[in-house]
């Protein structure tokens, strides 16, 4: 017996694709318009993500969006990046929801609600970073970037050491 795709799965797929497109097109009102080729690539990547959420192509599509923003912007941090961050978080959450089970399994409303709240909360990091970046936009130097990177790597190493168990555990 062949089972159809659950309606909730279709909705989450559509939301995920929309999230990726919003991540790319959020700068259009401020004049950051991507070329048609980039839009097509991200759209295709969105379709792939919707049907194969755990595929490497999903990460690569997000990578394309990041690269496009990195190429468009230099030191400026427009408000559109907040919307783009929301789009990327939405796409990531949608991918997570889709990977819980087979496509014929309806995604329960409670699980969708839980992840919607989580997505909203983690998105709040974006305005904080955006605010800090705006404040320090004119004061940052290459040295400060490298220092920030070193600090981030250090924090990451500590977290990894705490979280990942050693062989003796």
């Amino acid at each position: 017996m062949r089972l159809g795709v659950a309606r909730s799965v279709w909705v989450v797929r559509a939301v995920g694709m929309l999230g990726l497109m919003v991540g790319l097109l959020a700068g259009v009102p401020e004049g950051y318009t991507p070329s048609v080729a980039v839009v097509v690539v991200v759209l295709l990547g969105g379709v792939l993500t919707a049907f194969r959420p755990d595929h490497l192509g999903a990460s690569m599509t997000m990578g394309v969006v990041l690269v496009w923003w990195a190429v468009q912007l230099h030191t400026e941090v427009p408000a559109g990046t907040l919307v783009a961050a929301a789009g990327l978080v939405t796409a990531h959450v949608a991918g997570t929801l889709l990977s819980y089970g087979p496509q014929f399994m309806p995604i329960p409303t409670e699980v969708v609600g839980l992840w919607a709240v989580r997505g909203l909360l983690v998105w709040l990091v974006a305005p904080v970073v955006w605010f800090v970046a705006r404040v320090y936009a004119d004061h940052a130097t290459p040295t400060s970037y490298w220092l920030a990177g070193l600090a981030t790597a250090l924090v990451g190493a500590v977290v990894a050491a705490v979280v990942v168990p050693t062989r003796g555990d």
Binding site: M1, L3, G23, P53, D54, H55, A58, S59, M62, G63, L66, V67, W69, A70, L73, H74, T75, E76, V77, T81, L82, A85, L88, V89, H92, G95, T96, S99, Y100, G101, P102, F104, M105, P106, I107, P108, E110, V111, R118, G119, V122, W123, V125, A126, V128, V129, A133, Y136, A137, A140, Y145, W146, A148, G149, T152, V159, V163, V164, P165, D169
Partner: protein, 431 residues
């Protein structure tokens, strides 16, 4: 269930969050793009929280099924007994799809927290042996960072008995020859149904004296009654082929579905009335149950019917089968009569003086399973010729004194048995 190496693995979600977040930070630092950190900041937070929720305990999961024997159309529940699920945030269960097994929720897939995992309802839609409960179980840790499984859990064999429509028939056995039962006998004895008024014999009970007739006649007269006896019923089930499409109970029936359900209903009907019932299945396994009574015997018959697989009997031809039908036994042959050998065997039983009824289980418009190849038209033509042969065979059976009735529920035999009983009570001329 969960011995050996850990089955917790990182999810695609965690990998994506780390990869995109790490790539974004690297781009931001190397090219000096603070805006990219804004974009990937939330993803890094999600990935970090998922990493912090790394599980350390291995769950144990055992599948459970409430019932292993059901009647078709009934339902049972499948649930999981779990332990060590403290690190799991969500459990995903997906039951394997099996023919003639209905699942609720549809698809047999559920996703919920481990402490609120709902059982999956299972309902077999057709008799027979069915494997149910084969499923895959997966768990995800907090923030969907790690996944346990999916682990394949084995299913269990479920025995699905044919559905029995409970209805007590008013049909009487034509020639009951037994001890105590519910059928009106041809001989007189201690019963409730009036037979005649006759002269008093020694041994008659005083309370049976009919005083009005005795006064009028001047000698004592008593009311006599008919004895009530049980009867023996032999069910011959033709399982040599299955015609038509079976879609389970409350949907389209194949000929074998009708055969098995009719046999179950007739056995239930007569055993419920205290009669002796025997079953003979014409199939490769040749299922057989001798004469017996009671609920236990009914369950045995239903169990044998549930095991029936269509096919031609092995190692024995129908002509050689001893049906063990003694005098007075009601023989019910449930067959589409597409076998000339079975028709001949049926006529032999009729000629022995036994009351024989043929129940036709062939649903209208049913066809045999034909491989979809260019010869399908030829097969259709051949089937039409078989149907013509069959109608000829059925009319010959009717002419030989064997009524043929299509199965129409438990009351199918009532009218036919009444007619046979009337016929058996008619005076006969010996030649």
């Amino acid at each position: 269930m969960s011995e050996g190496p850990s089955r917790w693995h990182t999810t695609g979600s965690l990998a994506r969050g780390l990869a995109v977040g790490g790539f974004g930070v690297a781009v931001a630092l190397t090219l000096g793009r603070p805006a990219v950190v804004v974009l990937v900041g939330p993803l890094l937070v999600v990935a970090s929280l998922a990493l912090l929720g790394k599980p350390s305990r291995e769950p144990r999961v055992l599948p459970r099924l409430a019932h292993l024997q059901l009647y078709e159309g009934q339902g049972t529940r499948s649930w999981l007994e779990m332990s060590g699920t403290e690190d799991a945030e969500h459990v995903t269960r997906v039951l394997g799809q099996q023919p003639f097994i209905a699942l609720h929720p549809v698809g047999g897939a559920v996703l919920s927290p481990p402490d609120d995992l709902r059982p999956i309802e299972i309902s077999p839609r057709r008799w027979g042996e069915r494997r149910v409960g084969t499923e895959k179980v997966a768990m995800t840790s907090a923030w969907a960072g790690y996944r346990w499984g999916p682990v394949q859990l084995p299913g269990r064999e479920m025995f699905v008995l044919p559905a029995v429509t409970r209805m007590r028939s008013g049909g009487e056995a034509p020639q009951p020859i037994g001890l105590i039962g519910a059928h009106r006998s041809r001989r007189e004895g201690g019963g409730t149904e009036f037979s005649s008024i006759r002269a008093f014999h020694s041994g008659d009970r005083l309370r049976r004296i009919n005083w009005r007739v005795s006064l009028r006649q001047g000698t004592l007269h008593v009311e006599s009654t008919r004895a009530e006896e049980d009867t023996a019923v032999l069910l011959i089930v033709d399982a040599m082929a299955d015609y038509g499409v079976s879609e389970g109970i409350d949907a389209a029936d194949s000929s074998l579905d009708v055969t098995v359900r009719a046999a179950a209903a007739i056995a239930d009907q007569y055993l419920g009335g205290g009669d002796r019932v025997s079953l003979r299945v014409l199939s490769p396994a040749g299922e057989y149950a001798g004469y017996g009574t009671g609920t236990r015997h009914l369950r045995r018959i239903l169990g044998l019917l549930a095991r029936v697989r269509p096919g031609v009997p092995r190692d024995v031809s129908i002509e050689q089968i001893d049906f063990r039908a003694t005098a007075g036994t009601v023989v019910v042959v449930i067959s589409p009569m597409l076998s000339a050998e079975l028709a001949i065997a049926t006529v032999r039983l009729v000629r022995r003086g036994l009351p024989v009824i043929v129940v036709d289980p062939l649903p209208p418009g049913s066809t045999p399973p034909v491989h979809p190849d260019p010869a399908a038209q030829v097969a259709q033509l051949a089937w039409r010729m078989r149907l013509l042969d069959r109608s000829h065979l059925l009319s010959q059976l009717g002419a030989a004194g064997c009524p043929v009735v299509p199965w129409n529920g438990p009351r199918t035999l009532e009218e036919v048995l009444r007619r046979l009983a009337r016929r058996s009570q008619l005076p006969r001329i010996g030649v």
